[in-house]
């Protein structure tokens, strides 16, 4: 290997982490959560302030917790518990919902990310 070879190799190996850093995690850490209830009412809550939000839906009460810049469903009256198992959300664009109880939770970041892409 010549010196130029090593130079190219080093450049390539430096380029990769830079690419990952700049093209992945583009939404960054979210600042607010948008909660939409069964009646279509929106609640915008800051992630900076810890709090517990109770939303009434057709099945009962969904409890959402905001703690340490993250948000999650603590409990839900639904059968599947998918919303609870989604766990903590903190990146802009992250989203979960309880369809049976008609409550959705989305993290709003500086930039809106896509939840699904297909072409």
């Amino acid at each position: 290997m010549t010196r130029a070879d090593y130079f190219v190799l080093a450049g390539a190996l430096l380029l990769l982490p830079w690419l990952y850093a700049s093209y992945w995690h583009r939404g960054g850490v979210g600042e607010e959560v948008r909660i939409v209830g069964a009646d279509g009412r929106e609640i915008l809550a800051s992630l900076r302030k810890d709090r517990e939000i109770r939303i009434e839906g057709p099945l009962g009460t969904s409890v959402i917790e905001i703690h340490d810049g993250k948000a999650r469903f603590v409990s839900s009256p639904c059968h599947g518990q998918l919303c609870v198992h989604a766990g903590w959300l903190h990146l802009g664009g992250e989203f979960t919902a309880c369809l049976p109880n008609r409550v959705s939770l989305a993290v709003v970041g500086p930039e809106l990310r896509y939840d699904t892409i297909n072409f």
Binding site: M1, T2, R3, D5
Partner: protein, 185 residues
């Protein structure tokens, strides 16, 4: 040209270099087609082993030979696979052009310049970058496509390095048996 019977004929004389390029291109096309049958985990990722022949041609016979081998491979390979003038071909062709441009510039470096590994890495990365740009401009003009770039570039660097080491091993082999195929430069 006029022959004895007075009819017009066209005759070509193939030079040694023409034969050489034809053989190398045939080899590259064979690898290209064999590789197109391999399954890929992600569209756009493939080993690019045919590029080994291009870089070997570059090191043994110069940039002009590499251009011929590479473009013949892309055009004839796509005709045989049936992708000629399809998006696949457009991507393949633009990747090949970018690679050739980059290794052309690389061969202008003073001193000992680049070896097989440097050429292969540069060619592979230029290939990915150009394909990505063309795919973004022409086929999928969506920001989200950029999420794929780091993955594709990682594959490009990995496979570029692998084919570079392969070419290096080939060159060592050529030098050890200084037969008729021995490098002239």
């Amino acid at each position: 040209m006029r022959n004895d019977t007075g009819a017009h004929t066209l005759s070509f004389t193939a030079t040694r270099e023409d034969y050489r390029i034809a053989w190398l291109a045939a080899l590259a096309i064979t690898i290209h087609i064999a590789e197109s049958m391999l399954p890929s985990p992600l569209p756009g990722i493939k080993p690019g082993l045919a590029n080994v022949v291009t870089i070997a041609a570059l090191l043994l016979y110069g940039w002009r030979a590499a251009v011929w081998v590479s473009l013949l491979r892309v055009v004839v390979g796509s005709l045989l696979i049936g992708t000629f003038l399809t998006p696949t071909f457009v991507l393949s062709f633009s990747g090949a052009l970018a690679s050739l441009a980059v290794i052309g510039l690389g061969s202008l470096l003073p001193g000992r310049g680049l070896g097989p590994v440097g050429y292969c890495l540069l060619a592979s990365m230029a290939h990915i970058a150009a394909q990505f740009y063309v795919a973004y401009r022409l086929f999928i003009p969506h920001e989200a496509l950029f999420g794929l770039l780091p993955v594709l570039m990682t594959a490009g660097v990995g496979f570029g390095l692998a084919s570079g080491l392969l070419v290096r091993a080939m060159m060592a082999h050529f030098k050890s048996d200084a037969g008729p195929g021995a490098p002239t430069a």
